[in-house]
Symmetry: C2
Subunit: 465 residues, 2 copies
Amino acid sequence: MNQKTSIPKGTRDFGPIPMMRRNYLFNTVRSVFQLYGYMPIETPAMETLDTLMGKYGEEGDKLIFKILNSGDFAGGIKSEFLEKLINEPENSSQLSKTMASQVSEKALRYDLTVPFARFVVQHREEITFPFKRYQIQPVWRADRPQKNRYREFYQCDVDVIGSDSLLNEAELIKIIDEVFTRLGLNILIKLNNRKVLAGLAEASGMGNNLTDFTVTLDKLDKIGMELVQKEWISKGFSAESIELLIPVIGNTGSNSDKINGLKDILKNSSVGQKGVEELETLLNIISKFETNCSVEIDLTLARGLNYYTGAIIEVKSQDVQMGSICGGGRYDDLTGIFGMPGVSGVGVSFGADRIYDVLEQTNGFATLTQTGTQVLFINFGPEDAAACQPLANQLRSAGISCELYPDGTKIKKQMQYADQNKIPVVVMIGETERNASQAAVKYMSSGEQVNIAFSELTNEIRKIF
Amino acid sequence: MNQKTSIPKGTRDFGPIPMMRRNYLFNTVRSVFQLYGYMPIETPAMETLDTLMGKYGEEGDKLIFKILNSGDFAGGIKSEFLEKLINEPENSSQLSKTMASQVSEKALRYDLTVPFARFVVQHREEITFPFKRYQIQPVWRADRPQKNRYREFYQCDVDVIGSDSLLNEAELIKIIDEVFTRLGLNILIKLNNRKVLAGLAEASGMGNNLTDFTVTLDKLDKIGMELVQKEWISKGFSAESIELLIPVIGNTGSNSDKINGLKDILKNSSVGQKGVEELETLLNIISKFETNCSVEIDLTLARGLNYYTGAIIEVKSQDVQMGSICGGGRYDDLTGIFGMPGVSGVGVSFGADRIYDVLEQTNGFATLTQTGTQVLFINFGPEDAAACQPLANQLRSAGISCELYPDGTKIKKQMQYADQNKIPVVVMIGETERNASQAAVKYMSSGEQVNIAFSELTNEIRKIF
């Protein structure tokens, strides 16, 4: 049996070094969340098909990984259906959808938002609102794998649900600022408001077509103002009303400049006015914080998610060219789909994999030199090894991680092991040392070697850690 | 849309309190693993069907959750097969197996051992052996859900691969001792050796039938010696040779008593002698450690896993009646199934869910009183709230987790929020306090309330954390 080893495409193994780095990233995010009073929850990897299907649009439904029912699932397929499949092979793609619901009733979660909404509704009696939770778990999507896009990846979500105060949005921006400051990354926080977008669509005479309006606007970065205008016109927006929007959308001035421009153009849209007021209040609260990063109004920001109803937030790296590394917004009715309407929430999601990539490219893991064992005891044979054990235990009691090489093999091989695993200190106790109750301590980076009494070993090594 | 909310049977949601407890448990295990030089890895939730199938026996194969291929999976089913399914509905259960391989090529991992073996073979060029790794991840099994048995649960595995030294077994026992000491649990470590079992089967004249021998022996606890003897005889073991084993297997004396008994009865079995020698050496190494828990030879211990070749280890709680809470052993050819023979390893797996249950029953989480926010700032309205923000930031800089209630609602509601979330300190800054640059600090457990100058707030609160 010489089986080829491989893993499903779009998935990854993480060895010790990436794991240490990922843990550093997750721990940073986690400690900031906790510092602001958010509490952890976890939901199962599998949800019922009912919970997930229809929540992410038709395209999303296709990307959900479905789990085959266990046992006699074939017995659950109707024979008329099987006949249809035999007679219409050209329709097999369409028939696969029908069949999926006959052979599967569970699926892997696609994001953390829908399971969170389900959690809130299911546990509404136990929860004290406002409920501040964070959740750090993997999600799965049957996307076509490509560079920086995986079929299994982690999301780090932080949400407050059950409060419509703008202090929540402000707090999330403070959290974003703190996370990226701790990670040593320069970022730009972009801010928009779905009500402002609705107001702009209204002002352009197409208030009932917000989706077309924002989908086109979203492309501004890529295709430029002229083509955006053309696309709007081709979709039926009037050229004259669009003309009015251009100076406001194209405004590259300060946030107050933008606010003033919006106030002017949105004076006849009540939803638009409400949006500007929210934006202004939020910027006002934030201005009193000490933040390290800049916050900038970006009217093209839509994030394509129809469930946002107020603030829309997105974070870009200032160091590395990359898509958004964090984003989110206000949603007024996420739990409505599960029969609990009128609960407003706001949250952001940190894209762990992209942040990891930015950290790698900016040398942001440079300080994480210590990945594993701090001290290796060389094994010179059973008797010498036995003498090492109590010393190793002393070091561990002092919080120093150490190991005794398990085999009494060639010293060269053992030193190579220390070298390859980047173990900074090697302790050697052979017969001579053992008889003198001394250990030879070698510091790998300098090559320096000193003899230390057993009783002083912990103190000696503690000096460098 | 008033959709019923539920999760798949055998899975669980974890709210803030169980999450804090689970994190405490995982962090304890993780820090001990790291202290002994083990490094973390993670593998994908999904493995290819090829990697998993056939590794856990026929029963195991049935319990593996298979993932439906995405897209046009129905087009991949052969029409002859569909016809068979129509014509032989009585065989649908059997046909489901064949069909699974036509509509699925990935599955959820069933344990951490097989993915680890796959990882080692796939990354053999990057790994320095001996490779000491730990892995803490969920696994999925389509078992019938029942009390304390879930379809999604965490395993915490720690293994050394690429060394056959008994120092590894000894180290794992030290790790077990340290983990449970830190968790405050009393345990008994049971020890056996597969070679000893092979020797005993040989001594009973049935060396070629080790499986029947151990499967029956494994039942000793439940059915007693007499029925074990009967079962052996019914399976073809000779009554006379079994008679010789009884005093050794039933020996309730000290470990040395048991060793001496074994040496005697196994004197004609070379594999048996090797096993006793390993047991004796291991006990000898351990005896020089300072361990808190007892280590006891248990000759009935087989753990049903055929891949064990040397030491077999199992841990039982001394406080609570429950199955094993940790277990493992030596395996000499785990990577052989993936084409890399002759690599010996040894490892143990901590059963997180069972350990959690033991901790709950022994009040082992009692010290974890602080689950979330330490300080709540009451919100008396926008201006007062604004005055709280810089103070909240000061506290956070000092590592104290705090939050400002987001809405300026009734004070009673805000105090209830503090109460229900077990927030120990509440800070109130109304107009009077704000004008005097003072905060009213209320300690929730005593009800005591003091007025503190803004500049002294951090120092005051730091006193109790």
